[in-house]
Symmetry: C2
Subunit: 181 residues, 2 copies
Amino acid sequence: MRILGIDPGSNVTGYGVIDRASGQLVHVAHGTVRFPPRQPLALRLHHLWIALSDVLEAHRPDVAVVEQVFVAASPRSALVLGQARGVALAALGSAGLPVSEYSATAIKQTVTGGGRASKQQVARMVCRTLALERTPASDAADALAAAIAHAHAGKLTLMGAGRRGSRRSLRDLAPRQGSAR
Amino acid sequence: MRILGIDPGSNVTGYGVIDRASGQLVHVAHGTVRFPPRQPLALRLHHLWIALSDVLEAHRPDVAVVEQVFVAASPRSALVLGQARGVALAALGSAGLPVSEYSATAIKQTVTGGGRASKQQVARMVCRTLALERTPASDAADALAAAIAHAHAGKLTLMGAGRRGSRRSLRDLAPRQGSAR
């Protein structure tokens, strides 16, 4: 299963692609899309659409993961973030991808073991988990962390099913993971 | 000049298309895009992208107008509105359209003569200005109102230039209207 994590932001959107095969997580790609400066908003948002469409085309993920937004910020910054997030989600929708959402706390908990880890700590653990040579930029690290969290959430679901029931119920559960929302 | 007005909303997005020719405003089309219910957010947002792309393809406007968001609402509703607004703006950007923004007050002022007009009053004046047989639905009326405001803003700019200067300065101003931001 190929998992795309996305971390949409008002200036920079991070993405990260990983494969989960036989319980192993393998890094495929990561990067950031930066809004071109001094362009009208409509063109900046369209640039994000194009860039994410290119990522989808290049890596053809099976599922996508986006961090849930915990809206503690001002309405103004929520609006600006929402604009980028809407474009990212519509691009994922255009590829027909099932999209899962996890809270930042759940992602940090899975990746670092602690729900209040710093951005640096998340980036370091992403780097270690995927055996990267260099620590990725913060936005790309957050996107990879979301993808890792989804890979583990799938495993946990399977483990839960295994504990509760037979091999049969375990197998029955498997197809649902791809479209968990 | 063909003007597309857009009124993005968290559930319904209105659009309206008018032509301005020799100082006359002529209605071309209007309608609403409703989010399909019970679909994942990414698919709903992609539906909006497709629907607006169809409107752009069908009517090929020269400029687009979107109401400025006055963020008095909660961060949560600002985020949800932002998501729809981002998709609408990116769709306009994909067509390379210059996008103008006006405050709700400025739009109401232009259309009804009063900045605090009710939605019904705006819809009635849109209906009268464009000689429509039936009053459009509120979201489409707001989109048409934004388009009308832009048509008048263009005229006012020209009039201003005429008062201040020569015919030459008036002519010089004209091309700028299409890309006023």
